[in-house]
Amino acid sequence: MPRTPTERTCILRLENVSLSFDESPKVLDNISLELWTGDTKIVLGAAGAGKTVMFKVALGLLKPTSGRVYLFGQDVTDFDESHWFEVRNHIGVLFQEGGLFDSLTIEENVAYPLVNRSHRTAEEVHPEVEQALRFVELGNTLSKFPSELSGGMRRRVGIARAGISDPALLLYDSPTAGLDPITANNIMTLIVQDRETRNATSAIISHRFQDGHIMANFRYNPDSKRLERIPDGSPLRQRTRFVVMREGRIVFEGSEGELDASTDPYIAKFSMQRSAH
């Protein structure tokens, strides 16, 4: 599953994926989605629309009732857990609440993927961990525990952990949920920065249109260390696509402009958020 920067390959493909628990209505209903190298997907939708479930299917944490899942070109639908571990080594994840281990320090949390996957010792990975935490501006929290940090800080630690093993695919589940606008924007800046520095493919679940707006229109300038607008007509603009989910179905897929132009009241709700701010 190596990543070649020049060649565009399909990193993640969901093919007619459906999922239901017991006899309740379908949580995912015939979802098809493709994510190519360097792409950014913004998954929008109301609470309970199935966004997180879709992520978990893509990660193999949940098994679809029907349909196929392809990751890095191979059909992983029927993989058992031990095979999944190999595939997941190439995916970085930020969970909704950060998903940090309470019983481990921040340093151990961020080091976890490296120690676990490459079987290196904590001392060996220390410089990388420190650098990753400095990247999210939390270089002084190494020996703290997750419970001692604020929600936004935990989220940033989660971002550091997701990216530390330099994965080919990054999945962020609601990186800004429940955060104040300033912190939320800082987090989005980090994610943009992450995208530019690693050239990773990413998918972001959100219920805030602004998150997608930042991803679609801004890039990180390493010289000024700030975000700057992507010039019109730049191919980078084409890389960010929006997906809107409703009750387990994908009801919209397209660019920011198309999302703005949509007349469907449910879809328009996610673009109107922008005009409201």
Binding site: L59, R88, V93, F95, E97
Partner: protein, 252 residues
Amino acid sequence: MLDILKSPIVTFQEFILLAGRATTNIVRRPFYGRDVILQMDTIGVGSLPITILIGFFSGAVMALQMSRALSQYGATGQVGQITAITLVREMGPVLTALLVAGRNASGIASELGSMKVTEQIDAMRALGTDPIKKLVTPRLIATCTTLPLLTIIADFIGIIGGYLVAVPLLALTTSSQYWNNAWRSLEYNDIAQGLLKPLVFAFIISLVGCLYGIRTTGGTQGVGRATTQAVVVASVWIFVCTFLITRVFVNL
């Protein structure tokens, strides 16, 4: 009718699957030695003071109860034998297991349950660690090694408790007769079931705790529910199993 049976059968099936996976993991890499030691400390060393206390009083109360019954037959000299046999065969294993179930089945269920609801178990899987290997197997190993040891300690302290009541307090018998009686009355059969029981109970306590923890759904309320269920289910199975094991050994 079948619907009522469905849920317990599914739970039992999950229990068997978890037991199978957790047990086979004992011999599979990677090993989490540090976690095993940590759990042994929490489950074993942590339960030691209360085990000693309960062991002492169960032995003492046994001698006290028996003093009346035995004096009716003029057989007060047998108090050592009765205390030793009841403790080693039944009271020691069951009381210790119930204590550890109350302390640790609940502890395990709430810890794993909170990890489940805060997505830590999903995160663990996403980061390439098998939660059964990392969380369940160490708890299983730790409980299976410490519970028999705790039981042995409880048995011994209980016999001392019985001695203190029988000899210095009530003068039912002499010191040497008590110890002689207690020592000689124990056969291999008693020791075997006295050690097999805690092993089986340890299996039940750790796996029931883990199962209810891992199955937790529905936020913090779900964690509370899982904890209660784990203790109740583990305690019930301890009683069922002690009956079944005794039934087998009684005929041997």
